[in-house]
Amino acid sequence: MLRTLVLAAALSPGGLPAQGVLIAPTAVFIDARSRTASLMIVNPNEQVAEVEISTLFGYPVTDSAGQLILRTVDAPDSTAPSAAAWVRPFPRRMTLAPHAQQTVRLLVSPPPSLPDGEYWSRLVITARGGQVPLTQAADSGQVRVGLSVEVRTILPLLYRKGRQQGALRLTRLTAEPDGDSVVVRAHLERTGTAAALGTARGELVDSGGTVRASFTAPVSAYYAIDPRFTVPRDSLPAGGYRLRFEVTPGRADLAPEVIVPFQAVRDSVSLQLP
């Protein structure tokens, strides 16, 4: 007799609808004068959500392929600009009814002798659905256990004490054809006291001075990053081109008042499209 194996909707129980949260804002900036901020969390779904908030120290870096990843440090030493230990969310855990909202207060309690500067933390907001109750299947004695989908959102929190100075250095700009694209790489290094939050723009210009392709992308240089950008080549003819690249302060997703301005950086390189 064939036995069947019942797999509960395997990566969560069969029939459980969507699970998740809405979080705003997507980046938190706190200054030493107020030392507080708030986060709004909304359960947009029809099921109860369990939400938990924690902090960690981390900052974006790039891997060898130029992709942004979050580098986390479990136990930052005293030289690291970590605010993770000082940030306390209230409440830290909550159960949100369907369509309910919760305001989470973030209180920063830094050490008394903290020098002026910018300090970083990451807020980790984890949302899970309500647990499926254990049931006993009457006919076969099987026990069914359900687990919900888990979604995590990690947001930046920047704490600023004193006046900040923004500065960014651009070096090692390259542009090379790669299949149907032009791959642009650059080395961006923060040289001021605040993370450089800006927008990178690139233009591919032909020998006649006409812009034939372009790209725009947000960048975040906490220390140094080597991001990778791609410009679609489409049907550009073979020949000589120039890639003009710049990074300017400000991002479309961040309010202008939270940006520590830095002098825009620019460079250009020549390339040959085969």
Partner: protein
């Protein structure tokens, strides 16, 4: 001659007094303040919300004059990059108070003209609530719109 002079004075002064009696002043105290909103989440401001509801104060002639109240209601707030955020109003979103108190209002539909009676000294206040409905992908930023109230004597 004296009678003619007196008649002339009376005739000159009468319409000037009637002009002052006809004056009506409408002052926008505050517009609807939605505060922080979330994409995809509607925000409702009640006309009885003293901090966030719109308020207009009316100063007119005495003797409990009857006035017509007419709103020019914006359909949307305008925001960054030309983004618009839809607004909507319901039948009870308008409120009038001869006592000029947010706690003591008579509700009315702000989408149509409303007839109200000013207080004895010619005072009144008009309140407005509203619903804002940001889209799920609403652009972040500051939004605003102009709200206008027109008040006219009916008698």
């Amino acid at each position: 001659m004296r009678r003619r002079l007196l008649a002339a004075v009376l005739l000159l002064t009468a319409p000037l007094a009637a002009g002052r009696a006809q004056n009506i002043q409408v002052t926008g105290i505050q517009g609807v303040s939605f505060g922080s909103m979330l994409p995809g989440v509607s925000t409702i401001v009640s006309r009885t919300d003293a901090l966030r509801a719109a308020r207009f104060d009316i100063k007119g002639a005495g003797n409990s004059r009857i006035v017509e109240l007419r709103f020019t209601l914006p359909a949307a707030l305008s925001g960054p990059g030309g983004a618009t955020l839809p607004l909507s109003y319901t039948a009870g979103d308008g409120g009038f108070s001869a006592e000029q108190s947010v706690a003591s209002q008579i509700g009315f539909d702000p989408r149509t003209a409303y007839t109200a009676t000013l207080s004895g000294p010619g005072r009144g206040s008009v309140f407005l609530g509203c619903r804002a409905t940001p889209a799920a992908n609403q652009a972040a930023g500051n939004y605003s719109a102009t709200l206008t109230l027109t008040v006219a004597y009916l008698q």
